[in-house]
Amino acid sequence: MYELQQIDKHFPGVHALKSIDFKIGRGEIVGLVGENGAGKSTLMKVIYGAYQPDGGTVSIDGTTVRFQNPRQAMDHGIGMVFQEQSLITNLTVAENIFLGFEQQFVRWGVIDWKALTAAARAQLAKVKLDIDPSIVTAQLSFAQRQLVELAKVLTLEERVDGDLVILLDEPTSVLAREEVELLFQLVRDLTSRASFIFVSHRMDEVLELSDRIYVMKDGEVVDVVAQADAQVETIQHKMVGRDIDKEYYREQKQQDYERTNPLVSFRNVSHAGSFQDISFDLHAGEVLCLVGTEGSGREAILRTVFGLDTPTSGTVQIKGETITHFNAQSGVARGIGYVPRERKVEGIVSGMSVYENMTISQMGNYATGGILKIGEERALARAWIEKLGIKTPNEHKDCAGLSGGNQQKVVLAKWRSGGSDIILLDHPTRGLDIGAKEDVYEMVRGMCADGVGIILVADTLEEAIGLSHSIIVLKDGQFQQRFEGMPGDKPTLFDLVHHMI
């Protein structure tokens, strides 16, 4: 019913979409996978009207259409559920749901708040979310926000005659496993009302949910597979263009570690409102993984180790020294490196070049009397570009222009080159394609071999299990269970989930 034929899209210097054919039937769930840069997001933007194709046709039920903007696409029943926080947090839930379409509740220029709230409640019922639509969105959990997002798109039902096509862009990235299950169930139920295009980096989820899967590579659709025929390995092969190593998480390179002289030591540490009574040790060469749902206190622990948060009680020791003043500067000085989740905002400074980003945390090492030795900085950058295989034309390139994986490498190079031996990884592979992920895993093992201690908050449970020596499961800021995870003796998904919820 919705169909793209021979769609082409050019950007200066890039042929982003090459003659794409794509169609979706009524009530169908179509998966869309591909590495970063394969053209997925460009294709999505063409579908929901943010980009106009240079060539080819878009048709709905055989009628050719052309969207100048997302609004026109919406009028044809095409809606987009954006990644995570795309709701405006200072507005109420009801306002968010009908943002841009309030006119229907306006009488004589006045908003009828009662009608608006009632209509919002009806939309929320579609996604089985029982909350008061007049509360401010900031008070919702991430999972609730995701559902509100879906409810918002479903307002198209009332507005548009005909069929709906709903794009789900990485809808599960902030959700815990059981929340993902609920979402999938909901999407399946909703196929009576709409077709879905599901975009995710999580191959297992795509396979689980989709009826058909489009695989993209280099701006082209390289394969379309039905769910029945789909296999993770073959799809990944198509995406990457090569075989995925069976030892994806580099378990064969996992080595044991020395259980003396902990690098980081938490004793009954609490931080009001985020975690309570947490104790653990991190040793050189160890990967310690913190597992839990969003808001279980994982990130807050990382921030406390780094020095961004001050605990309300308990003792934190770094390399045997008890910390009394918590700030990031002394954290860095003690050899801690922090790889934040929001790579583009917290990881790199966009607008600064590769070499500037690499030395930002250790400028003192490349300066005498506050005057920078730019030559040395650049030499360092060139060495690490080489070492980590960072794809950049040169060290002067603005970091904002690099791909996600290469940005992550720059961030890691920043800490490693500065000699950090305690590395905090917060979702280090989020949004990376498979190749880039593997590079990160490789680096994790390499760092362990060099005697670095790593605290990891992983993107998926599989990743957590695969990478870690030890796992601490958290729930609502409380310690739940500790697992050892040496190769061959790893805990199962079920073991973890059992303690998470």
Binding site: A328, V345, E346, V349, G351, M363, A367, L372, I374
Partner: protein, 314 residues
């Protein structure tokens, strides 16, 4: 050469076009001696704008500069007799201190710089009024010439004022591009969160940025005071908006991390040319302000590099 690669050069191209335009309409504008004098006269404004650049470069603003210059004109005039050229040190310290307090209020007390600097400016104004007893004071001519007369001599045909400005510009440029502090400024301006997560002491960087802005404002006030050989609590009035305009027209947007002191030098020259053009082209008195506003819109529209504004234009 495409439009994209041309964009960073728009500020000086705009300047060039303006100069050529004014010169074409009135060729006497091209007299090099006169141009040099015009430039020497804009030096205090330029120094103030250069300081302001640091505040804007980190995404803030400093509205206290004019009042800081005011208080410095008074301090310089009152204490010249006691301290001679040493009064310059006092002046710069006062500016630095006021700026640092503004920075502290902004970073530690979470008061937006728009308000904190405005408020600190009022405090400075109070101080200026108190010190001057609300009168216009004049410097003793001998003392002034002994201590600061050299400022208005020439060296090899160049006015010393201009040379001072160039030295300060070189210093500021060095500070901005070649020091750890300058790099930190850029990081804070372009990506504050990443700077925090990299362990930079962001608050300190910001406080110093405002302090530098204050110190430069003090230097501007000092030069102006010596030039006018006196001081009072309103002497530097009229500097503030022009200084902001000079920074913005030069292509340092309020979003931070882009532009810099060299841009401000160009921006100041653009302001100078626009203003001189009013005189050279004999714009009617009642129309001057309107013409200034319209030319300003055109100049800003030309000079800002929108691709570097990143994201949304607020």
């Amino acid at each position: 050469m495409t439009l994209e690669t041309l964009k960073p050069h728009f500020p000086w191209i705009t300047l060039l076009v303006l100069v050529v335009l004014v010169g074409a309409l009135n060729p006497s504008f091209f007299d090099p001696g006169a141009l040099m004098l015009l430039m020497a006269d804009i030096v205090p404004l330029f120094i103030m704008a250069m300081g302001m650049t640091f505040a804007i470069y980190i995404g803030g603003i400093d509205l206290s500069v004019q009042q800081l210059a005011n208080v410095v004109t008074v301090v310089a005039t009152v204490y010249l007799a006691n301290f001679g050229i040493g009064v310059a040190v006092i002046a710069i310290l006062i500016g630095f201190l006021f700026g640092a307090i503004s920075g502290y209020v902004t970073t530690r007390l979470f008061v937006p710089s728009f308000v904190s600097t405005l408020a600190m400016g009022f405090v400075a104004l109070s101080m200026a009024k108190w010190l001057s007893d609300q009168r216009a004071l004049s410097m003793d001519a001998t003392l002034r010439n002994d201590s600061f007369g050299w400022m208005f001599d020439t060296t090899a045909g160049f006015p010393n004022e201009l040379i001072i400005a160039l030295i300060l510009l070189a210093l500021a440029w060095f500070l901005q591009t070649r020091t750890t502090f300058g790099r930190s400024l850029k990081a804070v301006g372009a990506g504050e969160l990443a700077a925090v997560a990299s362990g930079l002491n962001v608050d300190k960087v910001k406080i110093i940025a405002f302090a530098i802005s204050g110190a430069f404002a003090a230097i501007a006030g000092l030069m102006f005071s010596v030039k006018l050989s006196g001081g009072d609590a309103n002497l530097a009035n009229g500097f503030l908006l022009l200084a902001i305009v000079a920074v913005l027209v030069g292509g340092t947007p309020l979003t931070g991390g882009v532009g810099g002191v060299v841009n401000t030098a160009i921006g100041t020259l653009i302001v100078m040319v626009i203003r001189a053009a009013m005189v050279y082209l004999e714009v009617d008195a009642t129309q001057q302000q309107m013409v200034f506003g319209i030319v300003l819109i055109a100049a800003i529209a030309l000079t800002i590099d929108r691709s570097k504004l990143r994201g949304i234009v607020k």
